[in-house]
Structures are given as C-alpha cells and as structure tokens.
Symmetry: C2
Subunit: 204 residues, 2 copies
C-alpha cells in the first residue's frame, strides 16, 4: 500500500473515531493540529533538522486516539495505532505509535527526566517529529481555540465554567490535573494548563 | 408566605431545574444574571425610575425556566412560573410570568413593533423590570462569560466550534437563528448574536 493510501485509510479511521468524542476533540481539531505540526516540521527542516514528515503527519492525525479523557479500554493510544498501521503494513508503525504515546499534557506532567529510563528521556528530548506534534497540540489548547475548546469540554462533561470560590492550582501535579478534570471549573483547568506551559517556556 | 420564603422556594425550584441543563445554562449563570439585573434596577432607581425589585429578582431567577433550547413541553416558561408562583400564593405571579415570557434573544428576533399588538408593544418598550432582566441576560451572553457559555453550549449539543467554510449570517432572522442552533458552529452563532446586539445598540 502506498503512503498516500495509508494516509487516506488512517484519516478515515480517525474521522470515524473522533466523531464519537465532542467538539473540543473533533476532526477539525485533528486537522488543525496536523497542519500546524507539518508547518513546525517545515520550519525545522529549514533550520537544518532531519525530519520524517510521514511520522509527523500520521502521529498528528492519530494523536488523540486512545486519549484517557475518553477512552476506557486497557490499550494505550500507541497500541491501538500500532495495530491499525500494522494492518496497513506500514513499516514505521512502531515509531508513529511511540510518538502518539508521548503526546498529551497530562502524560508530560508525569515525566521526570532524573528518574525515568535514560533511553526514553533521551528520545523524548531529541525527537523533532514528537516536538512538532506536541507543540501543535499545545497551540490548539491555548489562544482563541484553546479557550473555546476548554469551555466546550466543560459543556460536554458537565463541568462548570466558573465557580467563584474555586482557586486555581499554580504548580499542578499529574494527579491534581487528572482529578481536576472532573471536580473543578473550565477557568481553573485553563489556568493550570497555561501556568505549566509558561513554566516550560521559562525553562526552555 | 413572606417574600423571603417565596424567594427561597423559587431559588430552590430553579436550582433543581437548572441542574438538568448544562454549564452554559446553570445556576451560576442564573445567579450572575440575577445580581446584574438587580444592579441595573438599582441604577434605574437612582435615575428616578419606579422599579419593583421583587419582580426583577424573581423574573431573573426564573428567566431560563422553559427555555426552548431545552424544554420540549407545550407550556411557555411564563406558564410554568405562573403555576409555581400561584402555588406559593405570590400576588404578582402574573407579572413575573409575563417578564419571563419576554426574556430571550430568539423571542426578541420575532418581535415587530409595527405589526404586534399595540398594548404588548407599549408594555415591552416601557417595563423597566423587563429591561433589567433582558440586559443582564445579554451581558452574560457577551464578553468572557459569553464566549465560554457559547462554546460550552456547543460542547453539550455536539455543535462544532469552528467550521472553516461556514459563513456567519449578519442580519439574522428568528428562523435562521433557531435553525442555526443545530446546523452551524459556535463562531457563527456568536457572530450572529453580537451583530444583532450591535444593531440594537445603534438603534437605541
């Protein structure tokens, strides 16, 4: 099967998958992230980095498959994608799957470069294809789209938009972030996310 | 029953009612609108208008009961409120009910001062208690809260946030507005609403 056919089959599978979620995580989001990730990858190429655009495109398309906010099955998103791309006989299925398993704000909150497996730490800190998808996904979680998506997620999950006496948590942990999803408001959720993004920016 | 007791019973009924809707129309919204409506009424009093604060408070509390975006029954919101307040033996139940039946952006789109009943037109153009609740509700439909609420409604109703090739309708009719709810995006919905609000402002 040609890459074109694999891409087409993947987009079709993801379109079907996303139609079961809500407007905060729909195919329009996936398409924006894919376009952004490819733009970032093109910038990287101009700067001299060697980048596999197929990996960027397929991982961006698949980045929300298996997202724990929605998916209750035992497989990770990467495992679901590995199975699918192997069925399409795509030779780099394992690399796409690995990227998918490393995209997600709550996953990143659980990482610790001092304690985690050295090889994993090196890979996630040096894989430009991963950076492109991670950053594209974060760009769609801030700004105008980020605000709309955060509120839409609240609407879909029946989480209030603003609760006067709920104070946002500044230096949120992975566990607090995950609990926060069901117990707090859109405003505190957005604050927590932006605060951490700001910390990352200051550190980088 | 004292006004205090009637207010308490009404708030309790509305809290229960709103808990069945979604975060775009929850008790936090009702409380914001009620506070805003009372603030507007206080301003009106300072300017010399005679205002019945009980009507403002009860109508603001009840303004979303029977909202057609959610309620499928045959009664109007006003009819539901009339029945409830009569049960509480509130003497001005009919006035509160009348105000409730006149609050709502889509209702206003259907009004025509040249064609509608003259007495109704005079009343709705001169009732300060109605103005206070109408304006308070509109204030919570624009600005930061308006954006969040519009997106949350999209999330709850599975309406996309932004569809690249959907063009917003500028001078929207009542029918277009009502259809728009299910067929378009949060962005076009918000645009239509703000455009009409701007027209009202220019006319006033």
């Amino acid at each position: 099967m040609s890459y074109h056919d694999i891409l087409k089959a993947t987009r079709s599978m993801v379109t079907e998958y996303m139609s079961g979620l809500d407007p905060s995580h729909d195919m329009y989001h996936v398409d924006r992230v894919t376009r952004l990730a490819l733009d970032i990858a093109h910038d990287g190429k101009k700067q001299g980095f060697t980048i596999d655009f197929e990996l960027v495109e397929l991982a961006a398309l698949c980045h929300d498959v298996g997202d724990r906010k929605y998916y209750q099955g035992k497989e990770t998103g990467g495992q679901l994608i590995l199975q699918f791309l192997n069925q399409q006989q795509y030779k780099k299925a394992d690399l796409v799957a690995k990227i998918v398993d490393h995209v997600g704000f709550s996953k990143e909150l659980g990482w610790n470069d001092d304690l985690d497996d050295k090889e994993q730490v090196y890979w996630r800190n040096n894989c430009y294809e991963l950076f492109a998808v991670q950053d594209a996904d974060k760009l769609d979680a801030i700004g105008a789209f980020g605000i709309l998506r955060c509120a839409a997620f609240s609407g879909a999950k029946n989480r209030p938009l603003y609760v006067p006496d709920h104070k946002p948590i500044d230096n949120i942990s992975q566990q607090e972030y995950l609990n926060n999803t069901s117990t707090s408001s859109a405003i505190t959720h957005f604050h927590g996310k932006c605060y951490i993004c700001l910390l990352y920016k200051e550190e980088s």
